[in-house]
């Protein structure tokens, strides 16, 4: 077993939070540009112009695009080719997220659910949210960081349909959820959808769906077709950017699926706002860190 300094994971966790807040992924930038180009409504065109200006200013000044620093979510994939210490990784991510907040410094959005006292560190009981998965045939630790803003998170929906409702009930629920959310989740964002699993898994699938690069289709052709159909349906509402009317109401619909119980038929929607922030790092056993999106 090699000797690995877990300070590297802490530093990566810190850098990832800052990178995610300041530097939008190229696929998101391209999606906003494409949306701006195909938009025909004058008010909506004005909205897209402001979005593009905000991205440029954040680049220029190396600052946050959106003030909502969100709750930190780290999606981990742990390679099986190295003996990674999971408990140590968890502690270091906690420290890294905290240091990002205090050292940048940016607003902590993490608050006690009852007293409503802000921890001032972006972390606290149960935070950061950690998703842990594993990778065969890899020795690295992959960390995908998403700061999840509340405008979109507040619009999350979950419904336990029954098998007799069929797949159509799920599709209709997704569309109805997006219409009900209206202008609040800062559209046009990514509509993350989970189908199948249990009540908790289906919401997690919806969250994993927003983590995909914009417009990357589900590898299952039937699911990919459903993504396209829902995208067309949402755009046909004319809700537009910031819900002020327009041709582009979503950048993409992403669906993730799982097997479910014979008597379950669950669906969940988790929206990501138009600044669909994320940052990725691969940490290697020799201490190298590669950053990306």
């Amino acid at each position: 077993m090699g000797i690995f300094d877990y300070k590297i994971v802490e530093e990566a966790a810190k850098q990832l939070y800052i990178r995610a807040l300041c530097d939008l992924p190229p696929d998101v930038r391209e999606a906003i540009k494409r949306a701006a180009a195909r938009e025909t409504q004058p008010t909506a065109k004005e909205v897209f112009k402001a979005m593009l200006a905000a991205i440029d200013i954040a680049d220029e000044k190396k600052t946050l695009i959106c003030q909502d620093t969100g709750l930190p979510l780290y999606m981990l994939k742990i390679g099986s080719g190295f003996h990674w210490d999971g408990a140590e990784i968890k502690d270091r991510i906690y420290e890294g997220a905290k240091r990002a907040t205090v050292e940048f410094p940016f607003r902590s959005s993490a608050t006690d659910y009852l007293t409503r006292v802000n921890s001032q560190t972006s972390v606290g009981r149960g935070l950061p949210v950690l998703y842990v998965d594993f990778l065969k045939d890899a020795d690295y630790l992959e960390m995908l960081m998403i700061p999840k803003g509340s405008g979109s998170e507040n619009m999350s929906t979950l419904k336990m349909f029954v098998p007799a409702d069929g797949i159509n009930a799920l599709k209709k629920f997704v569309l109805d959820s997006v219409i009900a959310a209206g202008a609040n989740p800062c559209p046009p964002g990514i509509i993350g959808v989970g189908m199948g699993g249990t009540a908790d898994l289906v919401m997690r699938l919806a969250k994993e769906a927003i983590a995909r690069p914009v417009g990357q289709r589900n590898p299952d052709p039937a699911v990919a077709k459903m993504e396209q159909e829902l995208e067309d349906a949402i755009n046909a509402t004319g809700s537009g950017p910031m819900g002020l009317g327009g041709d582009v109401s979503t950048l993409a619909v992403h669906i993730e699926t799982a097997h479910t119980h014979i008597t379950l038929n669950p669906v969940a929607v988790n929206t990501q706002c138009w600044p669909a922030r994320r940052a990725r790092a691969r940490v290697y056993p020799d201490g190298r860190v590669e950053y990306g999106y």
């Binding site: 004058p42 008010t43 004005e46 909205v47 112009k49 402001a50 979005m51 200006a53 905000a54 991205i55 200013i57 954040a58 000044k61 600052t63 946050l64 695009i65 959106c66 003030q67 909502d68 410094p105 940016f106 607003r107 803003g149 509340s150 405008g151 507040n154 159509n168 009930a169 599709k171 209709k172 569309l175 219409i179 209206g182 202008a183 609040n184 800062c186 159909e229 829902l230 067309d232 349906a233 046909a236 509402t237 004319g238 809700s239 537009g240 950017p241 910031m242 819900g243 002020l244 009317g245 706002c273 138009w274 600044p275």
Partner: protein, 196 residues
Amino acid sequence: MARYHLQTPFSEEAIRQLRVGDIVHFDGTLFGIRDLTQIYMFDQHHEPPVSLKGMPCIHTAPSLKKVDGKWVPICVGTTTSYRMDRFTPPLIENYGVRAIIGKGGLYEKSLEAMKKFGAVYLAIVGGAASLETQQIVEVEQVYWEHLHPEALYQFRVKDFGPLTVAMDSHGNNLYSEVKAKAMARLPEIYQKLGVA
């Protein structure tokens, strides 16, 4: 869609000319308020230490830092408005606020107050805080500092916008109009999606 460049404080006349869909920029004073600011004002009965008459109020919890005793902006953005709906009618009626700046819109009672007293809701582009921050020339004053980041902020702004008039002083609500259009199209959309 008309374009306006206004100066604070806003007169009733300047506000009454605005119609939903118009685009506004303005220069002058802007007050920052949030959930807690207004709970402090209205539920805990604290009078604001400054006049808000004719002024715009934005729904924000700014990231600021103090440099040599002076507040400077790190990142100032706009939050979703509906949570603060119930404070809006008294803000307009009792304090003469002429514009609420936010995202997502407000409800019927706020629209009524806007119509009655001459005020508007101006929709900012949510998520575009870097742009907003650049348009803030100075943090002139932070009142009720102990409430920070939900204190009462007095900003000086230049070319603040673009802001879309989303609720005007004539009873029009752009969000309701957009939603009504979507609902009218819905049967056809359901049909196409195969879920009718």
